[in-house]
């Protein structure tokens, strides 16, 4: 009954559906086919992670374009094409490279709707990889989504499952605003779950309740959802029941589901793989401190890496990434916390 596929396959199905559904959908990025402009094999790569392989032979070079190694060219082209009526999916290999084209996102794409009296739309989707754990060193391993969440006018999507990835990708291309679609490189093959064969959408701003529980709420994103699940299984054997909430999109953010869960549990742990200062975990902690204060029975815990660039040394990189043991410790602290009793 169940049709278990990986997040990689789920995204490939979404691309295929979108390209067939609407001729205005185009794709561009570095090596998204591979081999352009050189002799030898075409469509050799299908993108850095092979997600777009097979699309150029099927839909042609006018809809699936290899670009030069220039982030400004990729994003500038995509944003411009979007304002002129196309629906581009631009691949910007790693979020770490966004600095090069940040003005086009932050000051152009994000602002058009607001600076042209609501008459300009920019239906562009920018796909990019996030996350540590691949020995990629400090410039290929970051989770920079808080930078984009900070900017109004951009929607930020961070799937943790194959099901969510497919539905959110189709929703992203249907959406008329700029969307940054953050794909955790660790999840392409490790996130495997039940995905319908047909096309479907998941609305933005609706959190997923990954696991129901009554004692502690854990809010987590992307790979950290899986880390939280691992922790919750351990904690269940200790008699602590965790509810896990995956916001799926952080702009817009489903505040209601988080607040309703905390109203039930009274305890919150947020797990965020992004650097700890000004990250999404802190944002959600502040939300609950402001709007859910009366429900809280313990201080909020945020589990994040230390405030340091992602280390290259494997032992240090592993220690940098929040793991189930750290999450479980945080949950035990909030579960056992008593006023005046310390921790």
């Amino acid at each position: 009954m169940a049709r278990i596929i990986t997040m990689r396959q789920a995204l490939q199905e979404a691309f295929l559906h979108l390209m067939e559904e609407d001729p205005r959908v185009i794709m561009l990025g570095e090596d998204i086919a591979g081999g352009e402009g050189s002799p030898g094999s075409q469509d050799a790569w299908g993108g850095d992670m092979g997600l777009t392989k097979g699309l150029q032979p099927r839909f042609g070079k006018s809809r699936v374009m290899d670009t030069p190694i220039s982030e400004s060219a990729i994003i500038g082209t995509a944003v411009g094409a979007a304002t002129c009526g196309l629906r581009p999916i631009a691949e910007l290999m790693f979020v770490d490279f966004m600095g090069v084209c940040f003005d086009q996102i932050m000051n152009q794409a994000a602002k058009f709707r607001y600076m042209f009296g609501g008459r300009a739309e920019t239906p562009v989707v920018i796909r990019t990889q996030i996350g540590a754990g691949y020995r990629g060193a400090a410039q290929h391993s970051q989770c920079l989504y808080p930078l984009f969440t900070h900017i109004p006018g951009i929607k930020c999507v961070i799937p943790s499952s194959a099901y969510d990835a497919k539905g959110l990708m189709i929703e992203a291309v249907h959406d008329n605003d700029p969307v940054i679609f953050f794909e955790h490189k660790f999840l392409y093959d490790s996130a495997r779950d039940d995905v319908p064969e047909e096309a479907y959408t998941i609305p933005f701003g609706e959190a997923s309740i990954v696991r129901e529980g009554g004692d502690v709420t854990i809010v987590a994103l992307a790979r950290m959802v899986h880390v939280a699940r691992e922790a919750a299984s351990v904690l269940e054997r200790e008699g602590i029941s965790c509810e896990i909430i995956d916001p799926r999109t952080i702009s817009p953010l489903d505040e209601d589901t988080i607040l309703e869960s905390v109203a039930k549990t009274g305890r919150l742990v947020v797990v965020d793989e992004a650097y700890p200062r000004c990250n999404v975990g802190k944002d959600i902690a502040a939300l609950v401190a402001q709007q859910g204060f009366a429900d809280l029975r313990a201080p909020v815990e945020v589990v994040s890496p230390p405030h340091t660039p992602v280390p290259f040394a494997p032992e240090l990189e592993d220690a940098f990434i929040p793991d189930a043991a750290k999450v479980a410790d945080a949950v035990r602290r909030v579960a056992g916390w008593q006023r005046g009793g310390g921790k």
Binding site: M1, A199, Y200, E206, E212, G214, E236
Partner: protein, 377 residues
């Protein structure tokens, strides 16, 4: 049946439906040391699909509550132990300590109840088949449902008969396009399914819209149908809860859908978050909302029923059984009066989904009405 003197009986996590892998214990209804009688509801379990009660298979004393509320366990895991008082505590403890959860993964053991599909004129139709021999039973779900609506029924019926459950066109894993959403067209698809996939006359069991469809199949092609069991069917009166249909179609999120779906049940606590999420998954497939809209418009225009099938069904001359929950808010149980010659089972503590809320009574009624197999293949 009383537990044999000196013997120990295990209460284990049951398998309700083919997709169930486990469940979470919610409440015990019997205290440790308390008496249980066969058939008594001993504890409640919540599965990914629905909450339900586990019944004792034997009478005796509940010697141990092994599973505690909140605990999630796989199918076949030990929940509790029933034994009479002659069994010493040490023996009970030894039984608990030595209990090994058997693999009850049917798909691993026997290759089936796999999902199958058949190409019909209107597109792919998805179905399952369980059991062998006996009579042939075909289960037809209602508006917005799928074959999982029968998760408490298929195994019980398949113990004696061959049981097919199908996803109607526009539903479940069947093709989602519904160009002609009339009940006639759906009945034609079911009749085509029966002719193509099943041999011989079948016992049709239809719920709600499926109950109307089954009546039409029997009226159009009486040679295909041996008996009808209609559970809260449409087609017997002018009223239907049109507001429910519209709310179900329009529901965009968990909150709206949960509000709609709880109207189906007498006991609203059976509606779990996962049940709502599963229906949302279906509703979010592109084309489904339009298909449901067409279905409602074609068959329930202006919030009433377009097709009255009672006279034709009454004239069929085959056994007809009616099952209705007294608390049905969608199709009123008073419609049962339209089929005066049908056998009627009116159930307390059930709304529009008696096959889920009162599964045991529904299964017993269907098995009784179908009777023993006339020919064993």
């Amino acid at each position: 049946m009383t537990v044999e003197e000196g013997s120990i009986h295990a209460i284990t996590v049951p398998k309700w439906g083919m997709t169930m892998e486990g469940g979470q214990v919610t409440t015990w209804h019997v205290e440790e040391g308390g008496p249980v009688t066969a058939g008594q509801e001993v504890l409640d379990i919540e599965t990914s699909k629905i909450a339900g009660s586990v019944e004792a298979k034997v009478s005796g004393v509940l010697r141990r509550q092994v599973a505690r509320p909140g605990q999630a366990l796989p199918v076949g895991a030990l929940l509790g132990v029933v034994a009479d008082l002659s069994v010493p505590d040490a023996a009970v403890d030894e039984f608990v300590a030595g209990f090994v959860t058997e693999s009850v993964d049917e798909t691993a053991e026997s290759g089936g109840p796999a999902t199958k599909s058949v190409e019909l004129a209107g597109g792919k139709l998805n179905y399952t088949v369980q059991g062998e021999g006996g009579e042939t039973v075909v289960l037809v779900h209602g508006f917005g449902g799928d074959l999982n609506n029968w998760l408490f029924n298929t195994a019980a019926l398949a113990a004696e008969h061959t049981v097919y459950a199908l996803d109607l066109p526009g539903h479940g894993a069947s093709a989602k396009s519904l160009d002609d959403a009339s009940m006639d067209s759906l009945a034609a698809a079911v009749a085509e399914f029966v002719s193509k996939v099943v041999s011989g006359r079948v016992h049709l069991v239809g719920h709600s819209l499926g109950g109307g469809i089954c009546q039409l199949v029997a009226q159009r092609q009486p040679d295909l149908v041996a008996s009808l069991t209609l559970i809260a069917p449409v087609g017997l009166g002018p009223e239907i809860h049109g507001g429910y249909l519209q709310a179900f179609i329009a529901a965009k999120n968990r909150r709206e859908l949960k509000a709609a779906v709880t109207e189906l049940f007498h006991d609203q606590s059976v509606v779990t978050g996962r049940m709502v999420d599963d229906i949302l998954r279906y509703k979010r497939i592109l084309g489904v909302e339009q298909a449901l809209g067409r279905l409602a418009a074609a068959n329930f225009p202006q919030g009433g029923q377009a097709l009255l099938l009672a006279p034709g069904t009454e004239a069929l001359g085959i056994p007809v059984g009616l099952i209705w929950g007294r608390e049905d808010k969608i199709v009123p149980a008073s419609h049962a009066a339209a089929l005066p010659s049908a056998r009627l089972l009116l159930l307390d503590g059930a709304g529009h989904m008696p096959m889920m809320e009162q599964a045991k009574a529904v299964n017993e009624a269907i098995l009784g009405w179908i009777g023993p197999a006339r020919s064993v293949s």
